[in-house]
Symmetry: C2
Amino acid sequence: MSKILVVGSLGYDRISTPQGQVDQVLGGSANYFSLAASMYSEVNVVGVVGNDYKMEDKQMLTQRGVCTEGLQQVDGKTFFWEGRYEGDMNEAITVQTELNVFKDFNPALPENYRDSEFVFLANIDPILQQDVLKQVKSPKLVGVDTMNFWIQSKKQDLLKVLTQVDVLLINEGEARELTGQWNGIESAETLSALGPKAVVIKRGEYGFILYMQGEYFILPAFPIKKVVDPTGAGDTFAGGFFGFLSKLDNPLNLESLKLACVHGCLMASFTVQDFGVNPLVGLTWADIERRHADFLKVVSYH
Amino acid sequence: MSKILVVGSLGYDRISTPQGQVDQVLGGSANYFSLAASMYSEVNVVGVVGNDYKMEDKQMLTQRGVCTEGLQQVDGKTFFWEGRYEGDMNEAITVQTELNVFKDFNPALPENYRDSEFVFLANIDPILQQDVLKQVKSPKLVGVDTMNFWIQSKKQDLLKVLTQVDVLLINEGEARELTGQWNGIESAETLSALGPKAVVIKRGEYGFILYMQGEYFILPAFPIKKVVDPTGAGDTFAGGFFGFLSKLDNPLNLESLKLACVHGCLMASFTVQDFGVNPLVGLTWADIERRHADFLKVVSYH
């Protein structure tokens, strides 16, 4: 079984959506990613938490087989994010971000993480993403995500990271911001020209665009009538995507990436059905297989 | 071969998009619909034009086998619409609308139109849509489209029309306005509860949602890198949709409607590639078949 390395945020969130509000719920890109990817393979997580980080939240990861040796616990408060959604559930409105212990985060990989074959650089400072890349030996596949904050503040560092990765996974809004192009097809090609062999544009309820070497694969999200909380949908998409690929000998080709995107969609579809990481905690393989059968019915014709 | 009846607008447009501007180009829902649907079956058009309507524009329809006997030419100016698109090519911004001869339009069906088996009530006053329905004998399938103007000004008349039709085809923005629900899945079910057996929500580059009796079929639009002018995409979607269904013995079931939506997508994908009706004029069956093969590659996996 391959090992997947993820570096990203672990934190506590305050979330408000038309369906209700929650406070101090477990969040962060590395958490969402790990809970999704660990359905498929062993996950090694790299990140930082403060002394308010709850033991039970760490145990939730270890119970899923996630190795938390790379999780630094330091003096201070854990990363905190407050967001809300109004009407358009595809786009979060950030109310406040407290970086806290994340401000001085310096990712150091435990020795046994360095041979991870799959590496996902979740949305963090592109300089830290580069630091992590330098520490891994010879990964089979490297993926990266980012957000508007880094596009605006560290564009040159981000562009350098893009020359070093195989797959870019990015939100539609952020793809538009990075390329200056509204059209998803045009911006996918532009992003690909920046370095990544494959580009996945995540479009919320509209699904995704996969672009690789002149070929497109585009599907909608699985239809969910009552979206409770979209937080983490993009990170669990990445988790399903890398999780699926980590089980393959030859992950970097169009047919593999197509199925990886479908698995990303399936995992994201669970995430949005309840607040925080709740829907991922009790998830089984039977749930995933049932949803995949339902998804096929929604997108197939003859 | 079945006959398709369409009632809607015929007019001249002034259009501005990031790709350029055109003025006095042929437009109107009935024009776009007829040019698309006539690729499949015989089309009977009902509408009104002024004395500035050009003979060559009528000939363009008759050359495609469209019967224009139901086209009233009256004293006055033809319907005129001016719109522009900025960035988001899924949504037109109306600059001005001159109803002109359309203001006093009273649709009267020629005798040989009354046995049309397929009826499409394009976006016009819902009272006129009802007038047309009263004049047809026993149609096999009736579809309707509408727009925000009628949702705001004649909601009760529109709701009455919805109880009399088989299929509602509606833009995403207008579905949201009519139901007050942002989520496409939720609003499709709400719209279906208003009467139509099937609901198709058109989502521009994001494709469509088809909902019928608890079943969903959702696909994206065919990827077009350079969208020149989205005007008429929705009406040609309807044209491909009804055109395809008109060739079937049993059009009103899920499998038929799925393929009809795909044909709607294909026709719309041609429309957006150039200004006005230009892309539809020289279109061949070979073009449609080639695009269908390409579309299948974009949305299929195994």
